[in-house]
Amino acid sequence: MANLKKVLAGSLSLCMAASMMTACGDDSSSSTADAKKSTTSKAGDGTGINKSEDRTNTADLHGADSSDESKNTLTIYCWNTEFKSRLDKYYPQGTSKTLETDADGSITSIDGVAVNWVQIENEGNAYQTKLDEALAGQKDSADKVDMFLMEADYALKYANGDVALSVQDLGITEDDMAEMYQYTKDVATDTATGELKGLSWQATPGLYLYNADYAEQVLGSSDPATVQEAVKDWDAFTDTAAKMKDAGIFMVSGFDDTYRCYSNNMSAPWVDADGKVTVDPQLKEWVDKTKEYTDAGYNNKTSLWDEAWAAGMKIDGKVFGYFFSTWGIPFTLLPNTLDTAVDDGGVEEEGNGGYGHWRATEGPQAYYWGGTWICGAIDSDNQDIVADIMRVMTCNKDVAKAITEGEQDYTNNKAAIKELIDGGYTNPFLGGQDHLELLTAAADKIDLSNKLSAYDQGCNEKFQGAMKDYFLGNTSSYEDALAAFKTSLSELYPTLTYDF
């Protein structure tokens, strides 16, 4: 008994001490700031500046010596498992490096270097915050980040940010990248120097994916051409939505489903070069349209990634369609529409839930959504592996083909896609439809010049968050909702100014 008391008292005092540690969490900001301050640089630190050209070879920049442990670890920053699963499955067929895998098929080491995934939630800028800390401290740290992933919404920050290796310094040539879509290169290009900093294995044109059973029921045909006619522009889309409503079906699931169609067709970026925020007319259009749909009952009032949002993807989910980019099919729609999940022994085949009952069409407006870019971090101590991964995953035609065939992903390799189309590609998930042709048409239309800013993630999230209450009727005027957006954005990005 006395012993028990001692243990109890000891653990209680430990708890108290631990709670004290958490109490100082509020001040972590100051330590970040200190870390930032200490990274004042001596320009031209690098040893092997290429003198023939007037540029620094980013691969030759080195800070503090890295530890042996860091040399033997490939540290990759990411926010979900998408790239990891691609790498585990398709990297082995394109590389000559020695790989070790565990029982699940995960790559545990490459040429004896252990693979370490650092996964941080993307939402609310959490990923950016953590990655910023790691990259800002890279120079003085013995524990180096080797590779990080980024999204288009904030790619500019890292491409312009003096933290990513130039692709050319990794030995990847123009020839290697010849088959890539230009827009995927634009996203990751340093706007000051014009150097390419990151590569993507996928191009992400968007489509409208619809439930063929509902199309048959309401529109009389599930043929993509017929359905496209019914959703060819926003007016037609709205008319069809009314028909769907009469049949008890929602045209789209939630408020944000149509967002990317509008936001990718903005005439200017969210934030201009002087740090001024503008709400583009296209976004106002989205707000008006979504308000109209909500009041009319054309959507199911869900938010992206909600359970109810995902539930609508079941074949009897009462939602006609979803706007999805290429990754949306394998990563979201397919797993959500299956009645028996693959993990529970389900098979991806006709008869399992909605498999085979979805079709794709262009939809009312061309757009793109998402995409993941791979970057090498400056002063990575495993540059050869980083270079090899980038080359295999983004430049290798056979790997690209395999990914598209295996994952329904639209890979960033025009030649591979063309070969697949010419080879009579069909997608069993889409009932044997060749959606690559549609995607190719959409991908050719993507133009991202002068449409991106480094603040887009925060702007998009906060704008959708503030407008949700306008749609629901909690806030009755658009102006008040806009004011709420301004307040929450200024908390996140205090240095920005506003013209509204």
Partner: protein, 316 residues
């Protein structure tokens, strides 16, 4: 000459050193720094990052701005007063049922006449919610309230998203569930500390249990009650985890442009990564509030004690 007694006092101080060292490094220094930064214009540009490789890192130097951060917080149109109101109202919604239920349970558990069986089991069950992480319970309620959840089906609308007071009630209810066990145990300890002979003599004199509760239990556990009130109010002012997790840091529903679930600490947390000066100023304000409330409570309870003593003296 041998000393007659050995002084062990120094050991007391020596054993205190670890606490004070940890306290100074992890609490006192950050506290002072927070005060310092609250007078600084200290904003970071989250849309830029410098690694310091080919270009000089543009260093953000905090600049003295006097009460600039404070006046920004108090200026019209800022959410500050709204967040105070949100915090207090959500605290009250949680605290009032919490203290009532805890009092009843504490009285029942300590009442010898009731002879409750399996007390240990029930006490454990009551305390259990406090062991669950707030994030887990917030996630549970998020799912219950959103479309397809049980609460959505019962009420017919999303109680978390479509009405400010229903959303606040959810937060209040979660805080109630999390904390009533803790309060019950504190109050039980207080009631058990009351001299049993008082109860016995009251019963012999024919007092009803209502009389006993209001005239013996309540006056004698008042110090603990005010302790519970103060700690709960201080904890309530710092409410963060539940509303933040339920609303993804946004504090919605946003009614007429004003977030109704945003608490004071939530604005500190959303500001701290970018606007360190303002976040510090907000922290200082919370500190001052807490200080005032704590002092006021202390003074009022001391006053009452003095009055009583005086009365006794007069009578004596």
């Amino acid at each position: 000459m041998k000393r007659k007694s050995v002084s062990y006092a120094k050991w007391g101080y020596i054993f205190l050193i670890p606490f004070f060292a940890v306290y100074c490094v992890f609490s006192l220094y950050p506290l002072i720094q927070t005060f310092y930064y609250s007078f600084m214009d200290y904003q970071l540009d989250k849309g830029a990052i410098g690694g310091g490789w080919t270009r000089e890192v543009v260093e953000v130097v905090p600049e003295w701005c006097g009460f600039g951060n404070y006046s920004e917080i108090f200026k019209s149109g800022s959410d500050f007063f709204q967040t105070i109101w949100n915090t207090i109202s959500m605290w009250l919604i949680g605290f009032i049922p919490q203290i009532l239920v805890s009092l009843i349970l504490a009285v029942w558990f300590t009442d010898l006449n009731l002879k409750l069986k399996a007390q240990g089991f029930f006490k454990t069950v009551i305390y259990l919610p406090n062991v669950i992480m707030a994030s887990a319970i917030a996630f549970l309620f998020y799912n219950l309230c959103s479309k397809g959840g049980a609460l959505y089906d019962i009420f017919g609308f999303d109680v978390l998203a479509e009405n400010a007071w229903s959303a606040r009630s959810v937060v209040g209810f979660i805080n109630f569930i999390l904390w009533y066990g803790n309060t019950t145990i504190l109050l039980m300890a207080a009631i058990m500390g009351v001299d049993p002979s008082l109860y016995e003599s009251a019963q012999i004199d024919g007092a009803t249990s209502t009389d006993i509760f209001w005239k013996i239990t309540m006056p004698l556990i008042r110090p603990i009650l005010s302790f519970v009130l103060i700690t709960s109010l201080i904890g309530g002012l710092q409410m963060y985890d539940v509303p933040s997790l339920l609303t993804n840091d946004l504090g919605n529903p946003i009614v007429e442009g004003k977030p109704t679930l945003k608490t004071i600490v939530m604005i500190i947390q959303t500001n701290k990564d970018g606007n360190i000066g303002k976040a510090s100023a907000l922290s200082v304000l919370i500190f001052i509030f807490t200080l005032i409330i704590g002092l006021a409570m202390m003074l009022t309870s001391e006053d009452n004690d003095k009055k009583k003593k005086k009365k006794k003296k007069v009578r004596g």
